[in-house]
């Protein structure tokens, strides 16, 4: 009798965990897409057949792992997917990690993203900041996963330097950051994301396929294989449901 109860409890506990974990993955994908910020997209909005969204936080290591792999293979990514499959790739930047108390850097990084979008050069800022973070921290094993050393609170000039290196106008960027011109949009999008996901980032929505997390070893060459699998899964799942 005791054994039966024990086994029953274990089965119930497993079922409970699975139900809750799968609730997140089975959350219905967003219908009737609208782009949140035009400057944060790649591809042709007017003619795109597919919509690929990445919900991210610049100080989320798994998000950066994905973006680093894409950036290192950007020509192939554009040729095979963005242009080849007519995909509109949209990045939705949040500061969820700041909100959750994980990283104070998320807030200026996120505000910077919307300031860069105002100059219509989000990608320049994004790639430059990720390159800088990889060089200074991720490549040294800092801020790469849950057990690694955390990235310290960065001086605001770190983001100004990244913006300048990414081809943005430094004075305009500094002025935007000082006046917190990107904050309201960042706050709005973070709240929308938090209400949509019920979990964390990176969260990918490819038409009707959703994907949570990203597997990789901080090696842009091998990690790109996982990017391709994710993209192919989105394309194939779309075909299956048509």
């Amino acid at each position: 009798m005791k054994k039966g109860i024990r086994i029953g409890l274990i089965v119930l506990f497993i079922g409970f965990l699975f139900a809750l974990a799968s609730y997140n993955s089975l959350h219905p994908a967003e219908q009737g897409y609208t782009v949140w910020n035009d400057a944060m997209t790649m591809g042709d909005k007017e003619t795109a057949k597919h919509h690929f969204i990445m919900y991210t936080d610049i100080f989320c290591p798994y998000c950066d792992k994905f973006s680093d792999a894409v950036t290192a293979n950007l020509d192939d990514f554009k040729e095979q997917y963005i242009d080849g499959q007519n995909i509109l790739f949209e990045i939705r930047v949040t500061d969820l990690n700041y909100l959750a108390g994980h990283s104070n850097n998320s807030l200026p990084a996120g505000e910077g993203a919307y300031c860069a979008a105002k100059q219509n050069n989000f990608w320049g800022y994004y790639h430059s900041l990720l390159d800088k973070l990889f060089e200074d921290y991720h490549s040294k094993g800092i801020g790469v996963d849950r057990n690694s050393e955390h990235i310290p609170d960065l001086n605001i000039t770190y983001f100004y330097d990244a913006a300048e290196k990414g081809g943005l106008n430094r004075e305009q960027f500094v002025s935007c950051m000082e006046k917190h011109e990107g904050k309201s949009e960042l706050d709005k999008n973070t709240t929308r994301t938090a209400n949509t996901l019920n979990g964390g980032v990176p969260y990918f929505v490819f038409d009707k396929f959703t994907y949570n997390g990203f597997m990789g070893e901080w090696n842009p060459t091998t990690d790109y294989i996982n990017v391709r699998i994710l993209m192919d899964a989105g394309l194939e799942t779309g075909k299956e449901k048509e």
Binding site: P61, A100, G199, V201
Partner: protein, 210 residues
């Protein structure tokens, strides 16, 4: 007031005695584990269990993305490729502290499985069931803490976000650390108990042989 002091002393004395008894048991358990793992049948079981647990933990290491890929529209061959990549990623675990903790957890799980089967086959079923309960619970705790709580991708996050909203990721990280330690402690406790049982089994059979 005067009666309380001896009571306190007796509690500490009891605690000390229990600790000493557990340490002694642990010493015999190490010998018991040695007996068990030296037998070819159990080495095979240990290795197979270790690979199974490491694969399972690696599969869910970075969130539940791999699970979602298996239920996507990818072809069967492509899904096999996903599983193959997880096999390769098992070796990547040696490169990070997080990965090494998964390897260590898998080793303990595998040892517990080998000991449970040994005890079960030698008619110590009550001890085997106790070990299986503790080991099973430790596995669930270990599984629940997988992922990246910093990014909110942990099996704990959806559970906690229902209770704590946006602060769920922070809570998940803190609770995850506590649960990880608890999982290791529970597994070690189960292994000591089972290892000691195996030591008794082997000791008794040797006496009987004499």
């Amino acid at each position: 007031m005067g009666e309380k002091k001896p009571k306190k002393r007796s509690v500490f004395k009891k605690l000390k005695q229990n600790c000493e008894a557990f340490t002694n048991k642990a010493k015999y358990a190490v010998v018991g584990c040695g007996y068990c793992v030296r037998r070819p049948k159990y080495i095979a079981l240990f290795v197979a269990s270790f690979l199974f647990f490491l694969f399972f933990l690696t599969f869910f290491r970075d969130g539940n993305g791999n699970w979602q890929l298996l239920w996507s529209g990818l072809s069967f061959g492509y899904k096999m490729k996903v599983l193959g990549l997880v096999c390769l990623a098992m070796f990547g675990n040696f490169a990070s502290l997080y990965g090494i903790s998964l390897i260590f957890l898998s080793l303990l799980q595998a040892l517990a499985i080998a000991l449970i089967v040994f005890a079960w086959r030698n008619r110590k079923r009550e001890a085997a069931l106790d070990g299986a309960s503790a080991g099973g619970f430790a596995s669930l705790l270990g599984f629940a803490t997988l992922g990246c709580p910093t990014c909110g991708i942990s099996f704990l996050t959806p559970i906690l976000s229902a209770l704590a909203g946006a602060s769920a990721t922070m809570l998940a990280e803190r609770i995850g650390t506590v649960l990880s330690i608890l999982a290791f402690a529970l597994l070690l406790y189960a292994i000591v108990k089972l290892g000691y049982t195996v030591y008794i089994i082997v000791g008794t059979s040797k006496k009987e042989e004499k």
